[in-house]
């Protein structure tokens, strides 16, 4: 392995804001990137792709048993039909929380996350603390989100070590039987679809 000082990145300004500015300017001047394309990428993840996509899927699964069955059996075609596909969501698996099993998602090796359904991962999902701890002490991590599981519920933590991305289908809260899909959708938090929240 080359020593740190041999890495080309050490040639860039050390302040990150200047670093990205320097790279963007150089790459634009070389014709390798188009600033308008960068704006488009940012707009996509800032305004168009986010956890409301996932909430849509969850609310529909709660409302439509056939959809739910298809989603759990093979999420890919179902999500493609809804348009929730693409980068970092090429191979989706949906795992269902029940009274017996509470699912959680992590990527201990980097920060893999189902972007087309949840957008950019939150800061804590990318933190060393979450990556290091959740596979070993998921219940302590849950407590930091204010979640306390009953002893009858087992935790299953999915470590996203390949290109498969996981979405948690949270349990539908009690007392929501009369709600329509739009109202249900508003109940679904991002954290519940990572398994770090429960809905009440």
């Amino acid at each position: 392995m080359p020593h740190d000082h041999d890495h080309p990145h050490s040639l860039l300004p050390s302040e990150p804001a200047l670093r990205v500015k320097a790279l963007e300017t150089l790459l634009t001047d070389k014709g390798l990137i188009d600033p308008a394309a960068l704006d488009e990428i940012i707009d996509t993840y800032e305004n168009r792709i986010g956890p409301r996509n996932g909430a849509h899927v969850v609310a529909r699964a709660w409302s439509d048993p056939a959809f739910k069955a298809a989603l759990l059996a093979d999420a890919g075609p179902v999500l493609a039909e809804m348009g929730y596909v693409g980068r970092q969501g090429e191979h989706m698996v949906v795992v269902e929380n029940t009274a017996d099993v509470h699912n959680m998602v992590v990527c201990t090796l980097c920060s893999c996350y189902p972007w087309p359904l949840l957008g950019i991962p939150p800061g804590w999902y990318k933190s060393d603390a979450y990556r290091a701890r959740v596979v070993r002490e998921p219940r302590k991590v849950l407590a930091e989100f204010g979640v306390h599981l009953p002893d009858e519920t087992a935790v299953r933590v999915w470590d996203s070590t390949a290109e498969v991305r996981y979405l948690v289908l949270p349990m539908r809260p009690a007392g929501t039987e009369a709600m329509d899909e739009a109202a249900l959708q508003a109940l679904v938090s991002r954290d519940s679809m990572i398994g770090c929240g429960v809905l009440t």
Binding site: D4, H9, D29, S111, S160, C196
Partner: protein, 224 residues
């Protein structure tokens, strides 16, 4: 442990701090760092496995102190020089030597939506047959290292080295990162979700019913 990025199970980290859904970025430069990295990724100079390897190959002290997007930027700069897309002199001066021959491959604004929607599927046809079935007990390779390249990329976390688990899903056949990060081709292999009892991984599991599931390639596994 192969490298400092392989931190699953590590002790000593602090609390996880929840955050509002409204927060997308934590600094003005974050969205630009994200977008520059994604745009450069479409030039076809490297694959996702090599880019991950360059991030995790940062000096351990840098990996520990850099924020998420700082790691991205550092690896991006290293990859751009490594692939000849920019020179060290250009990186240092910030001054372009001239338009790149790769400029024709530049990601245009109009193409962004399509490129993001397409993504980069990792499943492949062909490759070896699946040798494990749902319910089979398997043992994970130990040490958790790339067997082709010393210090090479692998997606086998150290905390699973030598552990025994059970196949719970077969994901089809996927590109093998251990080969693909190093120019050895995609070498696709059957990929499985393997469930491990927390009791078999940690000295102090929180609950006897808890499990960890990881996606592991066939060559990472042998029959228990």
């Amino acid at each position: 442990m192969s490298r400092v990025h392989d931190m699953g199970g590590r002790f000593g980290d602090g609390a996880v701090v929840p955050e509002s859904e409204e927060v997308k970025f934590h600094a003005d430069w974050h969205p630009r760092a994200l977008a520059v990295t994604l745009a450069c990724g479409t030039l076809g100079l490297w694959n996702i496995d090599l880019s991950r390897h360059r991030r995790e190959g940062l000096a351990p002290t840098d990996y520990a102190r850099f924020s998420y997007y700082e790691k991205w930027l550092a690896a991006l700069a290293d990859l751009l020089v490594e692939t000849g897309a920019v020179t060290r002199a250009e990186l240092q001066s910030g001054v372009s030597d001239g338009i790149s021959p790769l400029a024709a491959k530049r990601l245009e604004a109009a193409a962004v939506a399509g490129v993001l929607a397409r993504g980069g599927p990792a499943d492949r046809v062909g490759g070896p047959n699946a040798t494990f079935a749902l319910g089979d007990a398997v043992v994970v390779r130990q040490p958790a290292e790339n067997v082709m390249v010393a210090g090479g990329h692998t997606r086998l976390p150290g905390y699973l080295a030598g552990a025994t688990g059970v196949i719970v899903r077969h994901h089809g056949t996927h590109v093998l990162p251990d080969a693909n990060a190093h120019g050895f081709g995609e070498a696709p292999e059957p990929l499985y979700a393997v469930a491990f009892k927390a009791q078999s991984l940690w000295a102090h599991p929180e609950h006897p019913g808890d499990e960890v599931v990881a996606d592991l390639w066939q060559s990472y596994l042998s029959r228990a």
